[in-house]
Subunit: 252 residues, 2 copies
Amino acid sequence: MTYCVGILVREGLVMIADTRTNAGIDNIAVFRKLKIISQTGQRVLAIATSGNLSVSQSVLSLLAEGLENPETGELDTLENQPTMFKAAQLIGRAVREVWRLDGASLEQMTARFDVQLLFAGQVAGGRLRMFMIYAAGNFIEVTPDTPYFQIGEHKYGKPILDRAVTYDTDLYDALKIGLISMDSTMRSNLGVGPPIDVLVLRKDALTPELEYRIEPNEPYFLDLRARWSQALRTAHMDIPRPPYGQNVPGDI
Amino acid sequence: MTYCVGILVREGLVMIADTRTNAGIDNIAVFRKLKIISQTGQRVLAIATSGNLSVSQSVLSLLAEGLENPETGELDTLENQPTMFKAAQLIGRAVREVWRLDGASLEQMTARFDVQLLFAGQVAGGRLRMFMIYAAGNFIEVTPDTPYFQIGEHKYGKPILDRAVTYDTDLYDALKIGLISMDSTMRSNLGVGPPIDVLVLRKDALTPELEYRIEPNEPYFLDLRARWSQALRTAHMDIPRPPYGQNVPGDI
């Protein structure tokens, strides 16, 4: 399983990815799912992947080698695409190419061609953008109304995002809320686990402000987990008990 | 979609069920999913259902008519089973009987034989028990370690249960936490919706303490929803921002 979340706020963007992969619950390993391409002053691109690991790794390998441009014969890479939109299209082409190579065989073995990617960043001259790319190579883009995307095990970590993140959220509050969302997911699904990879990219900086790996026993993250658990436990205590027919014994 | 949760604490049990059904997102209706059988002083049984509505309704209809006992030739009903365990087995038999009648045809039409039930209550002379019954007619029972079961859309409402409910939770706090869990689910999945049916059964009372339908604009539930949203929004504010490399502009 996997959980990755990307949040795009006015000040910048945050990408957070777990690193746990599993082939069955008895075969668990650590694989980095957050890839960052950084050319200071030119472009910073981040790709988070979920789904079948062989598919997502093949997509990234194809992108690293470059895909031949059918018109010019040149190699298209993420490093030479002129805009975020063109870069997202290139990732979509790479997904379709892996489908062409592996899709039929995977389905023959009743494995699904399962891949989903978050793609975010900024190319000099363009704006900060974030896309979610599907297994068909099509994609959607984040807008200020719902300024986040999730891939993988998204349900446990969604309620906090729905309620706490807006486009005007402070960049490091967005990181904090994203980490709470990751914590909720790890707490309820053992297939999602540490270490956690994090990227913070400030608007127009064109260089990562933070590239960080949160290790399992990192003090801040442990503290966040404990405080959030405590907050959830106590939050309901401030809500009155239901007034419905309380025949409390001794209270007749 | 459906969401039902049952919580069994030391003092008693709570069952909560939504009432929304949908055949596609453009065909939504209200169906009661919480059935209560009450013979004061003798037994109180509650069944909450999820899955294919035709299957769960057939299961309940079969149980109402009774299933012939292969040994005695008598009709077995939920009203005449001597223990909760025997009653759970009877429900399992009814599920298997509907599978025998409808399973093959459903699968031919690529519809799944999809049904899951929560079954809880007390029979005089026995203890309060709660079971989750699967489509194969097998079942598991709640224990104090994890004193709740969920069926249907369970993920959104699980984090609060995981953190706030223990076997020693007050009975009406359990109801309140169950309603928060229902609220989280309704907020994130439109397939789960009001009115909400509620049962509170106190241990050894052998009569329902509360049977109640929460209508969409009921003031207490509206207040709970608003307070919980507010609590989630503010809870994260008490957690410090991540200390990782904060190159805040102007702070160099």
